[in-house]
């Protein structure tokens, strides 16, 4: 029994010429980098936010004045609240830790990213390292007779207390 002829998936007929006959194009996939697994874009999250009934009149009045939907005003309020929470941490390494952890779950659209971040991409990455993992990974000069307790204390001293607490909690989330 003969094997049925299967069309070559890398060949496509693109036309027919009077003198050339059937015209085909062959793709050489080995010349292309291996396809990366498509990262599944997170479905845009939807939340049911509770707003105090007493605040709705002011919320709607402000939304009417700026001619924007109520939900968009709430989005801006949420952003402002979260930003102030982040800033309230005070310690830069703790702020960067939280921001980097959150960003890891946010598939940002590169087309919406400001050009300046594209231009300074490696510098921005280095800045994050300096504020976060550089201090975390920097080799410590332990005294030769340092006890385990002292070593642990020195390790913890690489970063702010806020960083250490948040790092432990984030690791506890089972990321």
């Amino acid at each position: 029994m003969s094997t049925p002829h299967l069309p070559d998936p890398n060949v496509r007929i693109v036309g027919k010429g009077k003198h050339l006959g059937e015209i085909t194009v062959r793709l050489h996939p080995e010349k292309l980098p291996a396809a990366q697994e498509e990262t599944s874009r997170r479905t845009e999250r939807k939340y049911n936010m509770r707003i105090k009934g007493q605040d709705v009149a002011l919320l709607d009045a402000l939304a009417d004045q700026v001619d924007r939907p109520r939900s968009q005003i709430i989005n801006e309020l949420l952003h402002g609240i979260l930003l102030s929470e982040l800033q309230a941490l005070g310690e830069t390494d703790a702020q960067v830790l939280v921001a980097v952890t959150a960003d890891a779950d946010a598939p940002y659209d590169p087309l919406a990213r400001p050009w300046v971040f594209d231009a300074l991409r490696s510098d921005v990455a280095a800045l994050i390292q300096n504020n976060l993992w550089h201090t975390y990974d920097y080799p410590l000069d332990f005294p030769s007779d340092a006890s385990p307790e002292l070593r642990a204390e020195m390790e913890a001293g690489r970063n702010s207390q806020a960083f250490n607490i948040l790092k432990a909690q984030i690791e506890g989330l089972g990321r």
Binding site: R45, Y47, M49, D55, A61, Q65, N75, D105, L173
Partner: protein, 128 residues
């Protein structure tokens, strides 16, 4: 908090009280985008509270901050008051009053309590 029986009882009680309080809330469906969602979800997981519970108490103050961020919002504040915005403790209008942005007056100082009252001809001060 540990995951013991009593701890769970307390947590359930808190949740029930929170749900009871939620009766004075309205639910609004929002899609805040990936940036806000990412940090909101992280804080929610760290705190063990739902995103809505986490933000509910903060929204009034944020709304008051927004309202007083520009003199251009003055008409909106007055419109909200005219539509019956109330002055319950912690709500945005009460915060604006505390900050001196708005002041209530009533012709009948004895009956006016500032809670959901729509002033019509304001002439007398709320305070006797």
């Amino acid at each position: 908090m540990s995951d013991g029986i009593l701890s769970r009882l307390v947590e359930d009680g808190k949740r029930s009280a929170e749900e009871a309080r939620a009766e004075s809330y309205v639910m609004v469906n929002v899609r805040p985008g990936e940036k806000v969602s990412a940090l909101l979800d992280l804080l929610s997981r760290l705190s063990g509270k739902s995103p809505s519970a986490l933000m509910a108490e903060r929204l009034s103050e944020a709304l008051a901050d927004l309202a007083m961020s520009s003199a251009a919002h003055g008409p909106a504040i007055l419109n909200a008051a005219a539509k019956g915005a109330s002055f319950h403790d912690g709500c945005a209008m009460a915060i604006l009053e505390q900050r001196g942005v708005i002041e209530w007056h009533s012709t009948n100082a004895l009956s006016f309590d500032g809670f959901g009252v729509v002033p019509s001809d304001a002439t007398a001060s709320k305070e006797p």
